[in-house]
Symmetry: C2
Subunit: 364 residues, 2 copies
Amino acid sequence: MQFNKQLEKIKTYEPGLPIEEVVREFGIDPSDIIKLASNENPFGCSPKASEAVAQSAHLMYRYPDDTMGELKGKLAQKFGVGTQNLIIGSGSDQIIEFLIHAKAETKILINEITFAMYAIYAATKGVEVIRTRGMEHDLEQFYELYKSENPDVIFLCTPNNPTGDALRRDEVYRFLEKIDSDTMVVLDGAYQEYTAFKDGDYAIDAKDITKRFPNVIYLGTFSKAYGLGGMRVGYGVASEEIIGALYKLRPPFNVTTLSLVAASAALEDEKFVTDAIEKNFEYMKEYETFAKEHDGIEYVESYTNFITYLFEKSDSSEIAQKLLKQGIIVRDLKGYNLNAIRTTIGTREQNQRFLNALENLLGS
Amino acid sequence: MQFNKQLEKIKTYEPGLPIEEVVREFGIDPSDIIKLASNENPFGCSPKASEAVAQSAHLMYRYPDDTMGELKGKLAQKFGVGTQNLIIGSGSDQIIEFLIHAKAETKILINEITFAMYAIYAATKGVEVIRTRGMEHDLEQFYELYKSENPDVIFLCTPNNPTGDALRRDEVYRFLEKIDSDTMVVLDGAYQEYTAFKDGDYAIDAKDITKRFPNVIYLGTFSKAYGLGGMRVGYGVASEEIIGALYKLRPPFNVTTLSLVAASAALEDEKFVTDAIEKNFEYMKEYETFAKEHDGIEYVESYTNFITYLFEKSDSSEIAQKLLKQGIIVRDLKGYNLNAIRTTIGTREQNQRFLNALENLLGS
């Protein structure tokens, strides 16, 4: 059977290995496996969220409230925007899909090393991907390429995944002011809760962005700080015009009944989120100290719940594979052209196990 | 801001009103509302599924097992196919989206009155929709249009939604044998569990279809008989070639962690499903009797968990609106060019309330 030509160009996204697969492949006891590959919240989710879900489990037969009225109301209040400025997706990934289909016609502009889904959705749509050069976002390069290539959509991932560095807010604003109103700019803030906690100068205010720049969309998610990675809830905050266009591409019931329950309940427990973030940055210091104490490891200062180790003397794929055989799942970044691994900051025990294992591997 | 031209043609799907919206709009107490508009399983879901979900609620922080190994294994066993013959989507809607994007280039062929999402996804892709004439699937018309229009994809919805009639298996096979191997045929069996129970001659065997017709895909769902409409789990069964192509379009983590848990557990409780289907057809007799006893109501013989009343003397939109004000939500089919309403067969109490209310409306 002949399929549409675009399929030939599509590369499938490689997610972090699930624990289930490591169990199957290496025969390791599930309780011995630690997964630091997908930047899940190592402290789980708010007990309020899991209780709400357990109590609503019998309602799974019912289609979701497709207006998403309750969750939208709470998000609108959180961000100080109207519900007409919000769209909720099956993860913020789905919002990325919508906006590429709504706006990208010929080209998108992204950082050389950044979240893989931008390019994957562009390929699905048959759209060319223009990239800057270098690991961190360089807004001067972005501006040059904007002028010369005239992309339909520009993605700024701040903090950036998989590297962890972030852009200062004033730098972002100066950039946005130079972009014409018919070019869409996406501020992907999947880890912004961490960034805002670490340094207010790097925090992006979705309300202010929406008010000042009708061509900009801010993306957020419940998958990271809110600890609901498995439930697929992300959102976009933007002008009514952008939201209206994206809504046309939203399939009905794109967020499950229990995902809506979980996200709404999670918003009622900001203390859980703040505690998790506080511990994250406390524990991250151990990773920084480790890197400083070991020759041949550089790290990127991180505004997220993960840290990227760049290796000068070792091969990242070998390290990742050896860790995997010990039941420690991290993300090898060789596929991003970096000799590096990305590790989620885990619980204290997980971090200790990872750092001990790495110490042994480097010593051997 | 200019958006892509295709957006102009997109009509948004109108889902059945959620209970939450009727509460907001008419101020009716939620406990007084009955929803017979979305063909949810009125008996809920298997207690085994809700217990499994309640016990796994604390795992929401973890991304789904994206191999979906457990659920695929169980489905493979159920259908007697290999896991490479299966793709799981966020509802079977999402499989429809994938296959239109993978295969439809210029035209699809569908029944005049059928599930709305086929045409909606075609519009997203800028593909023309060819329709037969008439309420029920007429395979001779389908064949004529296949020859003259050369569509890329043909959809047979059996049993058909929103009318409830089904195609005999031998009739389907005779049709499939005449279709060339480069045209994809979709057998949408969202309600096939009901059909197979009612009359084996109308049942579609996904394994046999897959073996004999490498150009055909069978679609099934957990949203109806399995009572998991809120969790968005559907699947496609087809040749490895078709599944491989669709997989390229599948976004990672398209089914939530708890949806996978729920569907896997639901498959362990076939008794719940059979009991629900048995009651469905028992209660449906009351609807048939009601129609026979009232002048001006015709009904379509249904192989599903809903029934369609065609009105000769009344206006379906008026009836639906008057029922709504009493807290009874049904589906007006005026948008499908039918002066009819579609009603889910509910619990005994719900059916009684609906039929009493309709009796009063017709009498007045």
